[in-house]
Amino acid sequence: MDLDLDVTEKNGVAVLAVKGEVDVYTAPRLREKLVELVTQGKHRIVVDLEGVEFLDSTGLGVLVGGLKRVRSHNGDLGLVCTQHRILKVFEITGLTKVFSIHDTVDEAVA
């Protein structure tokens, strides 16, 4: 199972595009990438989840950890997601109130 992670920069924000399935097997790679970005001094991050086919609570936990990490540097971590099946797990766990979730990358980095 593949998880593709691609980092670009837009308006001074690190945009991390995630493609594939995020679960207990692949989530550690997402965590490492987020830690790496914060270590590089990138404290404004947008995680683009439009290419994500599956995400469970392990993936949610990694994103919560990333948000905590950037906030400790007065930064922020936003999400891009319009897929109902992915948004559903955020809604059930109440995390739609914790993350700012946008329809497009342009909107997220504005």
């Binding site: 199972m1 399935e21 207990v24 059930i92």
Partner: protein
């Protein structure tokens, strides 16, 4: 238990890379055999992933190399996925509560969302846990998928001469 029952059992090594396989197999069985909409199949996939993730973690903590067992069974009215581990067990009533999402402390909780997600995504959850392991049963209320109509096989086509003799 109502109606006829059938069961399919899958044993997976208790390792993270096999959770995707468990999701794939269970969702394939459910979508081919049961009358479930695509979004309900997605719900079941997440629930299976959560249950298997917990089972694998239980085996890691218990240092056991036993496989995790996944049993799909069905009746006329329900599809049930039982995920069984041989870990040390837990008390479902003692699961920690998360602070409300508006509380900054909420960000200190990266784990423990699995069981609440399962409870919301499937129609019923039964958890039996003891010192010998845990069984989580995920219940989806649904009928069987529409089977091929028997009339489809009442065809009038002619069997070519000699075809019946072709078989040994």
């Amino acid at each position: 238990m109502e109606g006829s029952t059938a069961a399919i059992e899958l044993g997976i090594p208790a390792r993270a890379e096999y959770v995707a396989l468990a999701r794939l197999v269970v969702s394939s069985i459910a979508s081919s055999r049961r009358d479930l909409a695509d979004d309900r199949i997605d719900d079941l996939k997440v629930a299976v992933s959560e249950a298997c993730t917990n089972a694998i973690e239980a085996h890691r903590k218990a240092s056991t190399t036993d496989p995790v067992s996944i049993v799909c069974s069905e009746t006329d009215e329900r599809f049930v996925v039982a995920v069984r581990d041989r870990g040390a067990g837990f008390d479902p009533a003692m699961l920690p509560e998360h602070p409300p999402v508006t509380d900054p402390e909420r960000l200190n909780f990266e784990r423990g969302l699995g069981i609440p997600l399962i409870r919301t995504l499937v129609d019923g959850v039964e958890i039996e846990s003891s010192g010998d392991g845990t069984e989580v049963r995920l219940i989806m209320l649904c009928g069987p998928a529409d089977m091929l109509d028997d009339d489809m096989f009442d065809t009038d086509f002619e069997i070519p001469d000699g075809a019946q003799e072709a078989a040994p």
